[in-house]
């Protein structure tokens, strides 16, 4: 299992088995309940390219690695609307978590989301789940302005503006990805698997 920041995944090329880079990753889309990554919206690869009308559902991803997202061929892509199930009438996508405030269920502001941490398991049928946020810490964490990692439980309550986490999350704050996997496991164990 690898931990990755979504900021590293954005703009990564999407490459087919035939060796063609057919797109690059635009948005990472995930489900609020459970944190599973549903897929990626796509953009074209040239200087003049814009967003594509097709998106990549997670089940079609053969591999998500350090340098590319690999797919069998372009027939696995689906219309963007199908991957982001709810789209606003204006044509925009769902709420973007980046820049949102994180609140504990006790009403304490922990900071602003600057990046998202996902856990990717290898192999066919692998999973990709959001397990934490990298936030710019508020005064409440005692490290105002620093970037820290906070773990998330299996289920998340999310709106575009406030992301709710259990108050105990602040006891499992991490500084780098290396030890963060363990912090996520410890935090979830402490929650006792409650959703």
């Amino acid at each position: 299992m690898r931990l990755m920041r979504t900021s590293e995944i954005a703009k990564r090329p999407v490459v087919t088995f035939a060796g063609e880079d057919v797109a690059q990753v635009k948005d990472i889309v995930y489900a609020a309940g459970g944190g599973q990554v549903a897929g990626f919206t796509l953009a074209g690869r040239g200087l003049f390219a814009g967003p594509l009308k097709q998106a990549l559902p997670w089940k079609a991803v053969v591999g998500l690695g350090a340098d590319a997202v690999v797919i069998r061929d372009t027939t696995v892509l689906e219309p963007t609307k199908a991957v982001i199930e709810s789209s606003r009438a204006s044509g925009g996508s769902g709420a973007d978590v980046l820049g949102s405030q994180v609140l504990t269920d006790a009403g304490v502001d922990l900071g602003v989301v600057r990046d998202v941490v996902v856990a990717v398991t290898e192999g066919a049928g692998g999973h990709c789940d959001v397990v934490g946020y990298e936030i710019e810490a508020s005064a409440a964490l005692g490290t105002q302005g620093e970037k820290v990692l906070i773990p998330l439980p299996d289920t998340l309550a999310a709106s575009g503006e406030h992301l709710m986490v259990p108050a105990s999350a602040k006891d499992f704050v991490g500084r780098d990805l290396a030890g963060f996997g363990a912090a996520v496991d410890a935090f979830r164990a402490q929650l006792g698997g409650a959703s």
Binding site: R12, P13, V15, T16, F17, A18, G19, E20, D21, V62, G63, L64, G65, A66, D67, A68, V69, V70, E122, G123
Partner: protein, 145 residues
């Protein structure tokens, strides 16, 4: 035999012992994992020699029955020979999405033209049985597991 060793080898006609050209490049079909043609230079008759028309690929020369074996490409071979689909110098990507390096050389069986392995710039070798495709962006191979 390696592509790097076989490059520049003379192509000789066995009917009159004349040199009809030199090996410039190898055209590979990734689906078959085979060399399907040689691109030649310094020929009078065109620049492609299909593997099937080669009599033997020896350590000092490649023999063909006659210069007539050399010709211009069929459209399939032309597509495979396209300069954007050349295997040498191309990044190597696994199906897990990780780059292993660039393809510096290719080992092949001179009797059959079958690819044996891809040699990377860092010296690692990847078995050609893992080859999934060669495109404009990368050479894609199955991950090891």
């Amino acid at each position: 035999m390696l592509f790097s060793e076989a490059k520049n080898r003379k192509v000789v006609s066995s009917s009159d012992a004349a040199t009809v050209g030199k090996v410039a490049r190898f055209v590979v079909d990734p689906a078959l994992r085979q060399v399907v043609a040689l691109e030649l230079r310094k020929t009078d008759d065109g620049d492609l020699l299909r593997w099937a028309d080669i009599s033997a690929f020896g350590t000092d020369a490649v023999t063909v029955a006659g210069a007539g074996a050399i010709g211009t490409a069929t459209s399939e071979i032309q597509e495979l020979a396209d300069k954007h689909r050349r295997i040498l110098g191309k990044r190597l990507l696994t199906s897990a999405g990780d780059e292993l390096g660039e393809v510096a050389d290719v080992a092949f069986d001179p009797q059959t033209g079958t690819l044996e392995s891809l040699v990377l710039d860092k010296g690692h070798e990847v078995s050609a049985s893992r080859l999934l495709g060669v495109g404009t962006y990368a050479v894609v191979v199955r991950t090891e597991d």
